[in-house]
Subunit: 344 residues, 2 copies
DNA sequence: TTGTAAGCGTTATCAC
DNA sequence: GTGATAACGCTTACAA
């Protein structure tokens, strides 16, 4: 005969207790609380009343366990305090919330090991799916393949890995760049420089392609001299500016990699006694709100919609979870970037 | 005789399967995997080997359920995309991570109903504890009392409710304000204005008190005319500036509510053809990194350490969860703010 | 309309 | 050193 272990009773009432008090079975209580059709009105109200009285609340951990589903999605991002990602999380959380999902959070700090540990932990938590933006230096993707094998769908966004079979959402900067260069051309600029990012980045390639396409559209010749790859630091930007301003063909406008680079470039131009928006005009990316507070914000900036990217990624995950989209139906949603004009 | 329901088998192997394959009992498997002392080396290795082979991973949902503990903490914040809060989350997540806790996230958008729903959802998720920064308009605290009743500890931070028995972490702005005013006085400023926030905010009161204390320290008379309460919008700030500049006593420095207000105030001053840091000097709060990119950043800014506040709140929650600190031992950790000087 | 009991995966208690 | 089994709270197929 085994000892009846004393129930630890977390204090929280259970359906068992409700059942005992009403002298009915737990299944009846369960069904009553779920508004099951086969339950008599009288019993139903009695149950609900007592449940309310006892402050009953269902134990989700039991339900998760029993149903093998947690209504939780894992989010893995490099850095929560980066403006781009915090907007993205905001979009993810809002969308998840309205689909009755909650959000488990982890930041990798661009560290591959930590990334693996977080994925591991999310897998153990039995999240229903994941939304991931990979770290700068992540080179092996085994941890994500483990997730796939465990049939946990993953949607990558913004920083997506170079793999064939993945679900992803990202923002194509090509169209935004075309708009940006169009904008400058319409203002009469003909010699337009570009301070681009490291050549290796997908985002840099998209910018360059957009730049060239826009010129071609206007039947203008593309001069490779005018695009310079920089490292996005303040000094790198100053050097790039120095180079561009030293060219024989007089540059009257510059497309910069992002608003921060634009600010650094503006500082350099001011030192050279150039008048912003007259001697030289800047256009950039990200549309960071704070750049509105600077003395000389870029004349226009390409919005990359982090909040919307977060929404799109979450929606895609939701259709994967609902079965609406098959797990092996790999989709790559590409959002279009868009130029926002601040000053003509 | 009841039908043996076919196991749905989420695909993930269980200790049961391992036991069957090795012809031993589940308890043995469980113990082997936990390195229980009473298990023979042979069995232990056999079990571990097979487990690895089968890609066995323990089902945390089962363990959470069984142990009544989830190693998850809930975080409720007004707005994830606000720089202050995203730094705070970053600190919370890092600390939680190193204590083997994961983080469940929710944003209230300053909406009281959503706040209640999120708390409800976290309670249902059976989080072990919560870290909360309340919404602007939250006036009833029943939802938090429910948590307390359910013995789920809550640590409030930054935006803390006006209640007697709570755990909290916040940053006292009084000392930072004293430093800020000291700084200006040492530079020779004697007529110092202050654009403060709404009178109702605790943070506004702390700023005003600090301002007055600093003057008293230097045996200077406090002129109430010099403190103006504004609504933190750009137009509100412009009005406040107009008022301050209209005073008979010539204001040469202004303490603004935060860096954004400072930027707005700078814009107004520039329009009035005032030279920044010469005709008028600004000092503010938050030490937002981007203000470094503006043409005229405040000469100094009071750092409020969001990351560290997040850490402190998480550490406090950890000691509550470990029992190191009793649930009814209400502590209010007050961090000191600190002036960061950008320009002399 | 309601009750009975199996089963989800794990741990822990007890017996051998 | 190992096995059998209760218990955690809930849902649900089946019986009554």
């Amino acid at each position: 005969m085994y000892c009846m272990r004393k129930v630890v009773s977390s204090g929280q009432p259970t359906i068992k207790e409700i059942a005992k008090r009403l002298n009915i079975s737990v299944s009846t209580v369960s069904r009553a609380l779920h508004d099951h059709h086969s339950i008599g009105l009288r019993t139903k109200t009695r149950v609900k009343q007592l449940a309310a009285e006892m402050n009953y609340e269902r134990n989700q951990t039991a339900i998760y366990f029993q149903q093998g589903k947690t209504f939780t999605i894992g989010i893995l991002l490099p850095e929560l305090s980066e403006a781009f990602f915090s907007s993205a999380i905001s979009g993810i959380e809002d969308t998840a919330y309205s689909n009755n999902y909650t959000v488990l959070l982890g930041q990798s700090h661009d560290d591959e090991d930590r990334e693996k540990q977080i994925i591991q932990s999310m897998k153990q938590h039995r999240v229903d799916g994941c939304i991931v933006s990979i770290g700068k230096n992540t080179s092996s993707y085994d941890h994500f393949e483990m997730l796939q094998q465990a049939r946990i769908p993953v949607v990558f966004f913004d920083r997506i890995p170079d793999l064939p079979n993945i679900h992803s959402v990202s923002c194509n900067l090509e169209s935004g760049t075309v708009q940006a260069v169009d904008f400058l051309l319409k203002q009469g600029h003909r010699i337009i420089g570009m301070i681009n990012g490291p050549e290796t980045m997908v985002a840099s390639k998209e910018r360059a392609t957009g730049y060239i396409k826009a010129l071609r559209k206007h039947r203008l010749k593309y001069d490779p001299e005018l695009i310079v790859n920089a490292d996005l630091t303040a000094t790198g930007t100053a050097e790039a500016m120095q180079y561009l301003l030293s060219l024989k063909r007089k540059v009257t406008a510059v497309v910069t990699f992002n608003d921060y680079v634009a600010m650094d470039a503006v500082q350099y131009a001011l030192k050279q006694k150039l008048e912003i928006n007259k001697d030289i005009t800047f256009v950039s990316y990200a549309n960071t709100p704070v750049s509105g507070y600077t003395a000389f914000p870029p004349a226009a900036s390409v919005e990359q919609f982090p909040y919307e990217q977060g929404q799109a990624a979450t929606n895609m995950l939701m259709s994967l979870l609902s079965g609406e989209q098959a797990l092996n139906d790999y989709k790559h949603t590409i959002m279009e970037s868009q130029l926002v004009i601040h000053h003509r």
